[in-house]
């Protein structure tokens, strides 16, 4: 406990410098600003704003700003979900169910306030959880050899598959395709430029940002433009922000339950915010005495999922910070950002770079505080933004993405590279394939190959090494159990229900 407090003290003194406070503030503001725009989620937002941190000299500030952008975008997405019924990202899909209905009944203000306060509470708890669980996990990570890392990645990818929407086998194929696309570029061991077809830019591999922007930015815009139905924005109806005493009372327990569930699910590989919000909604509906109110504007249906998705978003930092393994596409982007600043993510970050590690964690709480301040009084500004018609917004999103892609290497090649991925993202959507697992595979591809190679070199080609080492065997057994579970008919039915939200 004492150690925890002294670690947090290190963190807060790093996060509370004028410079870092400013970057945190800029981050959450920019994140909210872009996240509020309909149809653009945290992933595209971070990818778009990543170049803004390239010129920053202090990696701590850069990561603090990126983390701020992340939960800022998440908050912004909730606002859009409540007011326009258009989720900016998949984790606010459930918020549209009851939040939008509340807005239609003129209770948009309380819905927004409960979402913000619930998220703040969840964020506070999650910050402490990270501080408490990160050191022991990092400790464990030092016991990991190449076989364990490989098995852990298998577990992470399988979890991502199980938790994706729709068909499991399709998601599995998407992950494998992601791994293969990650192979493109120079092989570190032999120096051979694989699958680069003599294009010099490809020998460095495909830029992650180009993949993310193509599949999540551009494909999403094209699909949004295809839908002609008009959405109603409830802007004039946001009058009072304060929830009634009754609304507050019925929100307390959902927030507590959502926080617990979300924090736990966020740590799981592949879990993150999406699963957290869906499960929290399902839970609230299940234990409610009046489940028929859900979908018609029940405040519990806003409070629970919103707390859960914020808690999950934050605890998903734990595996990335302690093991160096991203478990969600957003964390994959954070890893990319750390690499740009010459920090190799992994258990050693905590000891070799304590101010960065603890500063980032402390900044999460500071960022959440900023968000409450930013979202409640300034809600009017975000609403104004929502009244700008999409026909004027999407060229702006397109432009920011293009400039973002260009500025990775100051080369238009990365802009061209977004095109095949925009097409792939579009085709995936038409064919009911979830795109998110591809990104995870893409980032892990080369790492996985490297750990497999090392593990097999040590064992002299004996593949049983993955099953004879106890830690590795446990991880693989977990992965196998997950796959078996999802193939059971009773579970797959529940899973479908959870993703449908009712």
């Amino acid at each position: 406990m004492e150690l925890l407090l002294s670690n947090l003290a290190t963190g807060f003194s790093a996060a509370a410098t004028a410079q870092n406070l400013m970057y945190c503030f800029i981050g959450v503001t920019l994140g909210t600003l872009i996240g509020v725009l309909p149809g653009i989620g945290p992933l595209a937002t971070i990818a778009m704003l990543l170049p803004a941190t390239y010129r920053m000299t202090d990696p701590t500030s850069a990561l603090i700003m990126l983390a701020g952008i992340y939960y800022g975008a998440q908050y912004g997405g909730s606002t859009t979900a409540i007011l326009v019924n258009l989720p900016g990202e998949s984790s606010s899909v459930v918020t549209t169910l009851d939040g939008y209905q509340m807005a239609r009944r003129g209770r948009a203000g309380p819905a927004l306030a409960v979402a913000a306060l619930g998220s703040f509470f969840a964020g506070t708890v999650a910050t402490f959880l990270i501080a408490a669980f990160a050191p022991p996990l990092a400790e464990l990570a030092f016991k990991f050899g190449p076989a364990e890392y490989f098995s852990l990645m298998v577990l992470g990818l399988i979890a991502a598959v199980v938790l994706a929407h729709g068909s499991v086998i399709k998601a599995l194929a998407v992950v494998v395709l992601g791994l293969l696309l990650g192979m493109i570029g120079t092989d570190v061991n032999s120096g051979v430029a694989r699958f680069s077809f003599d294009i010099p830019e490809l020998s460095d591999g495909i830029e992650f940002v180009a993949v993310a922007m193509g599949m999540f930015g551009f494909a999403e815009i094209i699909l949004n433009l295809e839908q002609r139905d008009k959405r109603e924005v409830f802007t004039s109806k946001v009058s009072g922000l304060f929830p009634s005493a009754g609304e507050l009372r019925s929100s307390v327990w959902p927030v507590l339950r959502g926080t617990t569930l979300g924090s736990f699910l966020g740590i799981l590989p592949g879990g993150g915010a999406v699963l957290a919000s869906f499960s929290a909604y399902a839970l609230e509906k299940k234990i409610s005495r009046t489940p028929e109110r859900f979908g018609k504007g029940a405040i519990e249906g806003v409070a629970g999922p919103e707390a859960a998705n914020n808690a999950g978003a934050q605890t998903s930092f734990i595996p990335m910070l302690t093991l160096g393994i991203p478990t969600t596409p957003v964390m994959a982007l954070m890893v990319a950002a750390m690499m740009i600043h010459n920090i190799q993510p992994g258990p050693q970050v905590m000891t070799s770079n304590p101010t960065l590690f603890w500063g980032l964690i402390a900044s999460m709480w500071v960022g959440n505080l900023f968000l409450v301040i930013l979202n409640l009084p300034l809600i009017g500004i975000w609403i104004k933004l929502l009244t700008v018609p999409y026909r004027m917004l999407f060229p702006a999103i397109l432009l920011f993405c293009c400039i973002g892609a260009y500025s990775i290497n100051n080369n238009v090649f990365d802009v061209f590279m977004t095109i095949p991925f925009a097409i792939l993202g579009y085709v995936f959507k038409k064919l009911d394939c979830e795109a998110a697992p591809l990104l995870l595979g893409f980032v892990l591809g080369k790492l996985m190959e490297e750990y497999l190679r090392r593990a097999l070199t040590i064992s002299r080609g004996d593949p049983t090494v993955f099953f004879t080492r106890p830690l590795s065997a446990t991880l693989l057994a977990l992965a196998a159990a997950l796959l078996l579970l999802v193939l059971l008919p009773s579970f797959s039915r529940t899973r479908e229900q959870a993703f449908q939200g009712d």
Binding site: M183, F218, L399, L431
Partner: protein, 157 residues
């Protein structure tokens, strides 16, 4: 033969295509052994796995002829206008940026992409152009000092 799910059938074919392509192009590299993996080892294994997965997905998409569901799951029509205009706008932006500079390419991007919307209005697009040009100048050129050609080459040189 009755096709139960067009989306499954075609996504399976897509995955098979990718899997086979990776296996095919990996032939150029050394395979190695498990103890000494060459650059072709992992991609070949994964490509094989992807091909098998694709085949299973496709077969799942083809139902038995006795299937009573009439039409099955079809693929939604492609919005060619939206798809092509957006992609064209991005390509044009990237193609013109090095020689024509950021101002010209922003204008091209906006005017090629905006008609992709069914609610396209010339006046709105004019406003968006002015706002985005000013914003880009302040944020990217002044604020972040990103490096790109500003004016067309024939003017600035």
């Amino acid at each position: 033969m009755h096709i139960k799910n067009q989306r499954d059938l075609w996504s399976g074919i897509l995955f098979m295509g990718f899997g086979l392509a990776f296996v095919f192009f990996a032939r150029d590299y050394t395979m190695g052994t498990a103890a000494k993996m060459g650059p072709a080892y992992f991609p070949t294994v994964l490509g094989g796995v992807l091909t098998v997965l694709g085949a299973v997905i496709s077969i799942n998409g083809i139902g038995r002829s006795g299937d009573s569901s009439e039409t099955g799951v079809r693929i939604d029509p492609t919005g060619w206008r939206e798809l092509l205009l957006i992609l064209l706008a991005v390509v044009a932006f990237a193609a013109t940026l090095p020689s024509m500079g950021i101002i010209v390419s922003i204008v091209i991007l906006i005017w090629l992409s905006s008609p992709a919307s069914h609610e396209f209005k010339v006046k709105d697009t004019l406003i968006a152009t002015v706002v985005l040009l000013v914003l880009s100048y302040l944020v990217f050129v002044r604020g972040l000092e990103l490096q790109f050609p500003f004016l067309p080459r024939f003017i600035s040189s």
